[in-house]
């Protein structure tokens, strides 16, 4: 072949090569385009979830009580694992998981198993130090309660998937949760994510959960928690409740629930360490026969209806009174007492005599006006309405029993709200825990304002009741409730519990309580203290009244409420 021929042959071969490549390109990019594009999309594109941040819960001074934080969860790839047993042993020491359970999971043929979710940062770091390629990490949101047990039963807790399970976390789950977002991203050959941007970029931004500001004050809550726990421990009791409420608005500044003596206070950071009864908010879920603290309802009703005067003398010298087929006695013999002293000394006889004058129709009406027999509407899950018989079903003895706080079941929150009526001039206010919801997306949010339920009694009756209840603290059964520097009004209660075996009133188990308001001259706080089944001393004036005093003194000092009664060693200087 001559030279020209060889050149033409080489050119032809090169042209043929290019034609084959071009043809292949046409086949891939035109004919097979749709199928290849779909496969590429499946391999390269993925939907990246953008987790929304759960809202923060603050106290009334905007101090954090519940916050979410991303922490690492540990997962394993069992299908690639060479020695699952050894890996399980190493991981169980760090993560405090059962080694046998871990080994079982890591021995499976799955490509992904959770080893431990939402671990503490220190433990995650130790797992990383193992340097295993078969163990990976993924960030997940975890809820933290930095104040530990403070207001634990009020806050509640969340589950593994950040859903509210108890307390305010559950009641306001929808507001706190937010909405997850997503973005359609691409990943390269080594799995790095590339956000494409530009037209056609598909995404939905996450909507952060709303924050919630409570009416609870962290400091007053701590005071209530501490004093109540001390009393429950000293009395070796089964538990207790302490409520601090603003009587004018219904705002709850503290709602303390103490676990049984010997049990730690509920810490929502570790709910699995507690029995379900220990995270229950007994302030709203439990009912108890209030005993003598309920006498204020009868007294207020009788004064309002003018069937008795505070200074009217009532003969209690018999020491007992028969109502229908039941004989009810006084704890100790009294003589002839004024009605004020009937309440101050907690005479059952005197109280029942006045109740019989009032009559069950009117008495039942006032019991309802004070909020008993119905839920208060406070924003905690599990509230019950208490136990109140319809007056048409009252037996002959009911009026006497109910007047002294038996044959009726009340919740602590109902009792606190009822004393709020006496403290604020006669209005029943709805107790509430959330002050406002703060929207994160520039939205309007929501503010909660005081809600009056209805007028129970007049201001004049309130003034009379206040004087009577101050007498309880000054000279009556509530002397140990008197806070230094402040006037106080309140009532003691020592209520027998029902023996669940016999169905009769127990001679050994009591509920000791004190409820009142301070300062009596211009009430700022209603404080309820209830101690369940104390051992040894059982009287409300001995077990619960000192808690009232301690909480009142410290809370009023913290709130910078000026003392209105400078007796008892305090120096009062006029400048």
């Amino acid at each position: 072949m001559d030279r020209r021929g060889r050149i033409l042959l080489i050119v032809a071969l090169i042209a043929l090569g290019f034609a084959l490549v071009a043809g292949r390109l046409v086949y891939l990019q035109v004919i097979d385009r749709a199928d290849l594009a779909a496969r590429a999309e499946r391999q390269q594109q993925r939907v990246v979830k953008l987790e929304s941040k759960r809202g923060t819960i603050f106290d009334r001074q905007e101090r954090e009580l519940a916050v979410s934080l991303e922490v690492e969860s540990v997962y394993g790839v069992p299908s690639d694992m060479e020695n699952p047993r050894q890996m399980a042993q190493q991981l169980s020491r760090i993560l405090r998981e059962d080694p046998k359970t871990l080994e079982r999971r890591l021995s499976s043929d799955k490509h992904f198993v959770w080893i431990s979710r939402k671990v503490e940062p220190g433990r995650a770091a130790k797992v990383k130090d193992l340097g295993s390629k078969d163990v990976g990490f993924r960030f997940e949101s975890r809820r933290f309660y930095p104040k530990k047990a403070l207001a634990g039963p009020v806050l509640g807790f969340t589950g593994m998937d950040n859903e509210g399970l108890e307390g305010l976390e559950r009641t306001y789950d929808k507001e706190l949760r937010g909405v997850n977002g997503w973005v359609l991203a691409e990943k390269d050959a080594v799995g790095r994510t590339v956000f494409p941007g530009g037209p056609g970029f598909q995404y939905r931004l996450p909507k952060a959960g709303n924050d919630i500001v409570l009416t609870i004050d962290e400091v007053i809550q701590h005071i209530a928690d501490r004093e109540l726990e001390r009393a429950v421990t000293t009395a070796r009791a089964k538990g207790g409740v302490c409520i601090v409420m603003d009587p004018g608005t219904g705002e709850l500044l503290a709602l303390s629930v103490a676990s049984a003596h010997g049990r730690p206070a509920f810490n929502p950071n570790e709910p699995q360490q507690y029995r379900s009864g220990e995270w229950r908010n007994r302030g709203v879920t439990d009912v108890f026969e209030p005993g003598s603290i309920f006498k204020v309802v009868l007294a207020a009703a009788a004064l309002e209806e003018k069937v008795v005067h505070p200074l009217e003398k009532i003969d209690c010298s018999a020491g007992s009174i028969k109502v229908a087929d039941r004989v009810i006695s006084d704890a100790h013999r009294n003589g002839v007492l004024t009605f004020t002293d009937v309440i101050a000394d907690s005479s059952n006889v005197g109280t029942i005599k006045v109740a019989l004058r009032l009559g069950k129709e009117r008495f039942a009406r006032y019991i309802t006006a004070f909020g008993f027999g119905q839920k208060t509407g406070v924003d905690i899950p599990g509230e019950i309405p208490g136990l109140l018989k319809d007056r048409r079903l009252w037996s002959g003895v009911s009026i006497g029993s109910i007047a002294i706080g038996q044959e009726i079941g009340v919740t602590p929150i109902q009792m606190a709200a009822a004393y709020g009526v006496l403290a604020n001039g006669g209005m029943l206010m709805k107790p509430y825990l959330v002050s406002r919801i703060v929207a994160q997306d520039g939205g309007a949010g929501k503010k909660f304002t005081p809600q009056p339920v209805g007028r129970a009694i007049s201001k004049e009756t309130c003034a009379k009741m206040s004087r009577m209840l101050q007498r309880v603290v000054a000279t009556g059964t509530g002397k140990q409730a008197k806070p230094t520097g402040y006037s106080a009004a309140g009532k003691t209660g020592t209520a027998q519990k029902i023996d669940t075996l016999t169905g009769l009133y127990s001679k050994k188990e009591y509920v000791s309580s004190f409820v009142g308001f301070v300062p009596a001259s211009s009430p700022k706080l209603v404080i309820l203290v209830m101690v369940d089944t104390p051992e040894g001393d059982i009287y409300g004036g001995i077990v619960a009244a000192p808690v009232f005093r301690a909480v009142a003194e410290q809370s009023l000092a913290y709130l910078q409420v000026a003392p209105d009664d400078a007796g008892g060693g305090m120096l009062l200087v006029n400048r």
Binding site: P146, L150, F195, H222
Partner: protein, 113 residues
């Protein structure tokens, strides 16, 4: 046609080779345009990597910020502060004997003095 090695310029600019020059220039322009196009795509991917890295850094910083807020909240808890005050600093609660209540007289009474 004779080719002269080392003298491409004069070869190209010789009258008979202007058609070839145009063809070479056209190819160069097309190649440049293609390079610009591909380069742009590569730049977008690189910027995407940078965005992802910055997003990660932002998330890490936000995470650290939240962790510090939680730690600050925990350190300022009333129970902890009280324990430090009582046990480490030896502070005591105020006794009623130490309380002096100073009642301020109304301004009118002060002026009268």
């Amino acid at each position: 046609m004779q080719t002269r090695t080392g003298d491409i310029g004069s070869f190209v600019f010789e009258r008979g080779n202007r058609g070839s020059l145009r063809r070479v220039l056209a190819v160069l322009v097309i190649v440049a345009a293609l390079l610009l196009y591909v380069g742009g795509k590569v730049k977008i991917v690189q910027l995407g990597y940078q965005i992802e890295a910055l997003e990660k850094e932002k998330r890490d910083l936000e995470r650290e910020n939240r962790a510090l807020r939680i730690e600050a909240a925990s350190l300022s808890s009333p129970a902890r502060i009280e324990e430090i005050a009582l046990k480490r600093l030896g502070m005591v609660r105020i006794a009623k004997e130490n309380l002096i209540v100073v009642k301020q007289q109304p301004k009118a009474a002060q002026r009268a003095k």
